[in-house]
């Protein structure tokens, strides 16, 4: 067993840390307050190669392993989870889905620009009435011979407005249940697509979340990914990897809060001493540190399994559930350690707490992760 990172992994971690601590920090509060999309940062991160870091070099990606991805996601998320979710969706849902399950023509046309970060992708699974139970898709794609006709509404779509490439899950044969589901590559500016207003969110306010409506949208036949009926499996397989991204995001939110709380506890004085010298605070920090370390180990284990080509579905569900749950606990304690200062925006921890909440919800709620984990025990 080897806990040593490679030189390259460390370099990527440092690069992500430098960008986050030097650049993202500058305007993160303002973007959160005004719900502004991080256009410049997305461009810069694309140039640095973060948006397609998991895609192989053959398809213009960074060719990095999943362990490096966890390290980078943690560093970016310590400062700004709105930015890291853009990176996560593009890398581990959209690019991964296309590279793993698309054909060469699809990869050539759609994956290359996404891997270079010139274009951004979105993953459209959730619907107003189909969240945790993703089999209840109402969006339909009717086979019209040389194209499919797409109709329906998708909800809560990250990158919903900024993405150029959508991966849309829809029913082609509702009577076949989840075996009648397919996934299609849909260009954002196709006729018949309406993007709803920007959701006014509690946290991650700088990422753009929208509903997307499809009204008789023509999707070329060649844009279906995989065999007929492959869509549900596609979504589940892709989310397995996506969860490593969100788990690392939750990890970063938690470790960012731990860093801030530790620093604050060493500076703030009460009753004649730095508050870290009060055991009640020191023990809180100790508990937080153990949780963060556990979450990091779960994330890295899942990433390592994926890099080794081994099954990682249960591991990524464990990482996602645990990291998200402790992110909520750790950020709440970080606010507590900051006292009144924790409750105002300048100190960042209240924002981290709002961001942590989302990690327990998207890409499968914590309850859904428990379903996945417990099912693996029943096997």
């Amino acid at each position: 067993m080897n806990f040593q990172f490679t030189e390259e992994q460390l370099m990527i971690q440092q690069a992500a840390r430098d960008y986050a601590q030097r650049e993202l920090i500058k305007d993160v509060l303002e973007r959160d307050e005004k719900a502004l999309y991080p256009t410049e940062h997305v461009k810069n991160l694309a140039e640095l190669g973060f948006l397609g870091m998991l895609v192989s070099e053959k398809w213009d990606g960074g060719g990095m392993d999943t362990v490096s991805y966890v390290l980078a996601m943690e560093e970016i998320s310590k400062v700004d989870a709105s930015v890291s979710v853009i990176m996560s969706v593009n890398n581990s849902l959209v690019c991964y889905g296309l590279e793993k399950f698309g054909n060469d023509a699809q990869r050539e046309k759609y994956l290359r620009p996404l891997a270079r970060g010139e274009k951004i992708g979105a993953f459209l699974l959730s619907e107003p009435e189909a969240g945790s139970d993703a089999t209840k898709q109402r969006t339909t794609a009717v086979d019209m011979g040389d194209y499919y006709l797409l109709n329906g509404t998708k909800n809560w779509i990250t990158n919903g407005n900024t993405a150029s490439t959508y991966l849309v899950i829809a029913h082609t044969h509702p009577e076949k249940g989840h075996r009648g589901i397919n996934v299609f590559i849909v260009e954002r500016h196709s006729e018949g697509i309406t993007v709803g207003p920007h959701e006014n969110k509690m946290g991650m306010r700088s990422s753009d979340t929208h509903s997307v409506m499809f009204n008789d949208v023509k999707v070329p036949k060649e844009n279906r990914i995989g065999e007929d009926g492959f869509g549900f499996k596609f979504a589940m397989k892709t989310l397995e990897g996506g969860r490593i991204g969100i788990a690392s995001q939750a990890l970063g939110i938690a470790s960012g809060a731990l860093e801030l709380a530790t620093k604050y506890a060493k500076e703030r004085k009460a009753f004649g001493t730095e508050i870290i010298n009060h055991q009640a605070i020191a023990f809180k920090l100790a508990d937080m540190a153990v949780k963060v370390e556990n979450a990091r180990n779960l994330c890295l284990k899942a990433a390592w399994l994926k890099d080794q080509g081994q099954a990682y579905g249960t591991a990524s569900a464990m990482a996602k559930m645990y990291a998200a749950d402790i992110a909520m606990e750790v950020t709440t304690e970080a606010v507590q350690i900051h006292g009144g200062y924790g409750y105002v925006k300048e100190y960042h921890v209240e924002r981290l707490m709002r961001e942590a909440k989302l990690t327990q919800i998207y890409e499968g709620t914590s309850e859904v992760q428990k379903i996945i984990i417990s099912r693996s025990l029943m096997e």
Partner: protein, 249 residues
């Protein structure tokens, strides 16, 4: 045209300094190593110049006198864009040893411009650049805060009390650079990190002179005296304390 940038491998600036048990050396266990900040700025400027030189600057080489533990730092320089690297395999003791060994390499591998940082953030000797120029018998300019090419002639500026000096010297020369030479150091891109693996890192054994100094011992600075805060309402207490505790009045 070829540029050489001297890189020093230093502990991260946030490192807590610890001494070995007998105080004869620094305890480097667990230290995070980085490129000396001034050298990193020198490299950044060299890369900027190369990019806008339209091919006139052919290569940027980085050189470090250090053992293999310096390689991650060197590879970071390659990842941000240096073309190749040289490592002189020696854990140097003083500036003299560093400068002499870099000079020995440069004598057989000439460069047009040599950049060094004004000092390194670990031992702050501020001597390598000047010594290197002396060993090579070429001009050196210190405290350079601006470097540009006018055609193929380098132009430098340095801040002096009350103004700015503009300087031109014939190549080859050593520019000892300080803050202002470049803004922010670069962050390596994925592509650069991948390419760094394939770039040449030449390791040579030392052929220069040995150190002229030996370290006798290190001592930590005295801990700062404790500060006592007195409430504004009890200002009178200050006088009592100055008289009775500090015994200064």
């Amino acid at each position: 045209m070829k540029i050489l940038v001297c890189l020093s491998n230093v502990p991260d600036t946030t490192t807590k300094i610890k001494l070995s048990g007998d105080q004869s050396a620094l305890d480097m266990a667990g230290v995070q190593w980085v490129i000396n900040p001034w050298d990193e700025l020198a490299l950044t400027r060299a890369l900027d110049l190369k990019e806008k030189s339209e091919g006139k600057i052919d290569t940027i080489t980085v050189i470090t006198v250090g053992e293999s533990l310096t390689e991650p730092t060197i590879r970071k320089a390659l990842a941000v864009g240096a073309d190749d690297a040289v490592r002189i395999n020696l854990n140097p003791t003083d500036d003299y040893e560093v400068a002499s060994n870099i000079a020995a390499w440069v004598k057989n591998n000439p460069y047009d411009i040599i950049l060094s940082g004004i000092e390194s953030s670990d031992f702050n000797g501020s001597a390598v650049g000047g010594m290197l120029a002396e060993f090579l018998k070429i001009p050196s300019v210190s405290s350079v805060s601006f470097l540009d090419m006018e055609g193929d002639k380098p132009l430098m500026k340095r801040e002096i009390p009350g103004g700015t000096e503009t300087i031109r010297v014939p190549m080859p020369f050593v520019a000892i650079v300080q803050k202002g030479i470049a803004l922010d150091p670069r962050i390596p891109a994925m592509r650069g990190i991948m390419m760094a693996r394939k770039k040449e890192l030449t390791v040579v054994e030392p052929t220069g002179e040995g150190a002229k100094s030996t370290y006798i011992g290190f001592a930590m600075p005295k801990a700062k005296a404790k500060v006592k805060m007195i409430d504004a309402e009890n200002a009178g207490q200050l006088i009592t304390l100055l008289h009775e505790e500090a015994k200064v009045i």
